[in-house]
């Protein structure tokens, strides 16, 4: 672990330019990851209540629909 971190320090963090580049690149990755995780958590909390969870039960023509709910 210490070795990896040391390498990281030597190659990335020591130079301001590479540090800034790494931060910007990391921000792109982080945005994707964070949005995915937080949306996932929200949809997990509200499983079955959001439109995306019930959308499939309303096709072209609404017919009966067997989604049962509360």
């Amino acid at each position: 672990m210490a070795g990896v971190i040391g390498k990281l320090y030597q190659n990335v963090f020591r130079r301001t330019s590479s540090f800034v580049l790494a931060a910007i690149f990391g921000a792109f990755m982080f945005e994707r990851g964070f949005d995915m995780v937080s949306d996932g958590v929200f949809e997990n909390i509200n499983q079955g209540k959001l439109w995306k969870h019930i959308k499939h039960s309303y096709g072209q023509q609404e017919e009966g629909g067997d989604e049962e709910e509360e």
Binding site: A2, I5, G6, L8, Y9, Q10, F13, F19, A22, A23, I24, G26, A27, F30, E31, F34
Partner: protein, 234 residues
Amino acid sequence: MLSYIGRSCQLAPALKGSTQAVANGLKNVIPASSQVRYAHTDVQVPDFGAYRRNDVQDPRAKSGDTAASRLAFTYMMVGGGTVSGIYAAKSIVTEFVSSMSASADVLALAKIEIKTDEIPEGKSVTFKWRGKPLFIRHRTEEEIAKEGAVDVGSLRDPQADAERCENPKWLVVIGVCTHLGCVPIADAGDYGGYYCPCHGSHYDTAGRIRKGPAPLNLEIPPYVFAEDGLLIVG
């Protein structure tokens, strides 16, 4: 500043003592009361373990061996803060900038859908689109043939018929005369297309200016033909 005052204060008697000691060393008149102690064995050094990292918890450990990893960890935290700060700042900026874009109710009116099968062949129908009249003409075969045969070089605003009509059966133009903005009358004028009553501009069935003061052809809005005969303008 705090520490400076504190430190100089603390040293003041010592400095005084030492000058005295040097100056008067030969004369041997150092008073017993101004004794100076340089080895601070009476100052208890507190335990700073809570502020030490694990790598240097042992005071005998060489700090140089682990300096890179300790620095890297701190830089990683700073980098993490920068990354999440960039994300937060970007979200806020996007939020504010997107508040300047058109609102949903405006966007909802920006497109109109037209059922083309309701327009009989050879007829021009007027719709309202973004506050302007919109002419949609279902052209007959002979109109298509006539406009296709026109010599493009002879036109004031040279445009071939194929350039103006994506689908030759349908002409979609904004019904505002390019001269002074009047609304032309459909199926009128010398060329069977549109005729502007204000100053007598004649347009053909491809909406091109043929006679009169108008400088340009009628404007064509962006449109697409969707499936099952639906025309979406906007």
